[in-house]
């Protein structure tokens, strides 16, 4: 791992840093350092670490202002103004403060590496279903104008992902969601009335039988892609998933997917069920 990424992983490996990021993500607005101390104290209480001593609060404040916050700012994870004592999140993925598994942390590190501007050509790999879900949510949050998704089974539309898609719709992002599975289309139509729901005609998306096969595809603003594969299900009902991700207009994976989707991206409207329903004749 490149030193930059090691530092990033080391930062996220610290439970307090994860708590800070989680809180910032939840309140979704800038916080004063004092407010952050309050949130963290509550957070610690929930975790069973009760302490309302003024001394400990002071020590926590000092640790934030002199250590955690400047470090997180330097890594680009937050923006900290030490003169005004104001903390702002820098659009990071939702980091679960309860994660203890270091393997997951390393995968998140690779997730974030793909999300930063280190190399346009870099293609990252996500190795677990949790990371695929995480990154899907991240893309939904990152999209500025367009979110293009394709799914093959219903259980790939997680509740939280739907929530992030709803939030994206509220930001004015155009969402197109395609699935050959009518259940998925119904669910999506239900929850995301403003999204364009359609049925893909692409054979490569739904090759017959056999694993591994494509599970989901998420393309944000036509420049950030996640392509997830479903592996052979072993014991649990959920399929294990892996994914490749790429970022950048000229990133090879992004270019490939854009080419494969080709005119489909432009003709979304013509494929939507809404459009087909409007036609005065049988399509």
């Amino acid at each position: 791992m490149v030193p930059f990424d090691e530092q990033l992983v080391r930062l996220i490996a610290d439970a307090r840093n994860r708590a800070i990021l989680t809180i910032l993500h939840e309140v979704a607005r800038p916080l004063s350092t004092a407010e952050l101390v309050n949130h963290l104290s509550e957070h610690d209480e929930l975790a069973g670490d009760v302490s309302d001593e003024n001394d400990d609060r002071e020590a926590l404040y000092i640790a934030l202002h002199h250590n955690h916050l400047p470090k997180l700012d330097e890594a680009g994870l937050i923006d900290y103004d030490p003169a005004e004592n104001v903390v702002t999140a820098e659009n990071v993925p939702d980091v679960d403060a309860d994660w203890q598994d270091l393997e997951k942390l390393e995968e998140l590190g690779s997730c974030m590496r793909a999300g930063s501007d280190i190399e346009e050509d870099a293609i990252g790999v996500l190795e677990s279903r949790e990371d695929v879900i995480e990154y899907g949510r991240y893309l939904a949050d990152e999209a500025d104008e367009e979110l293009f998704c394709m799914y093959t089974t219903t259980d790939l539309l997680e509740e939280e992902h739907l929530e992030h898609a709803e939030a994206a719709l509220e930001r004015g992002v155009e969402i197109s969601l395609g699935s050959k599975n009518p259940k998925v289309r119904d669910l999506a139509r239900d929850r995301l009335p403003e999204a364009t729901i359609w049925e893909p005609q692409l054979d490569w998306m739904n090759a017959p039988s056999g694993y591994p096969k494509i599970g989901r595809l998420v393309l944000a603003d036509r420049e950030q892609i996640m392509l997830a594969l479903l592996k052979n299900p072993d014991t649990d009902s959920h399929h294990p998933e892996i994914a490749v991700i790429g970022e950048g207009r000229d990133n090879p994976l992004v270019v490939l997917v854009r080419d494969l989707l080709g005119p489909r991206l432009d003709h979304l409207d013509y494929q939507s069920d809404e459009f087909l329903a409007e036609l005065p004749f049988e399509p």
Partner: protein, 104 residues
């Protein structure tokens, strides 16, 4: 609470404008970096939020790590300039001295 001894190098006045020394004993449960911040805040009569962050000078985690994990035979001592004070940190105490215009 514990005894934080504050001694000055001047005329016995705690808030004099002359260069002031402060000797601060680090508590057992206290991190050296926290002690540095507290001592400097007291010495300069400044609220914590208004100090420049210690991380700008030295990484508090490395400072704490070096001092706290060192074997008893090690004499670890760091000195640096922090918020216009000369600060010296050892395993047991923080010594701070205000640097006014003449001494810088």
């Amino acid at each position: 609470m514990t005894d934080k001894s504050v001694t000055d190098g001047g005329d016995g006045n705690d808030h004099s404008d002359q260069s002031l020394h402060l000797s601060y004993s680090i508590e057992e449960t206290e991190a050296p970096s926290t002690a540095v911040a507290r001592a400097t805040a007291i010495l300069t009569d400044t609220a914590h939020p208004d100090l420049d962050p210690l991380y700008d000078v030295i990484d508090p985690d490395y400072l704490d790590g070096a001092i706290e994990t060192a074997d008893s035979s090690v004499h670890a001592e760091f000195s640096f300039t922090f918020n216009q004070c000369e600060v010296i940190v050892t395993q047991s105490e923080v010594t701070a001295r205000k640097l006014d215009g003449e001494n810088l």
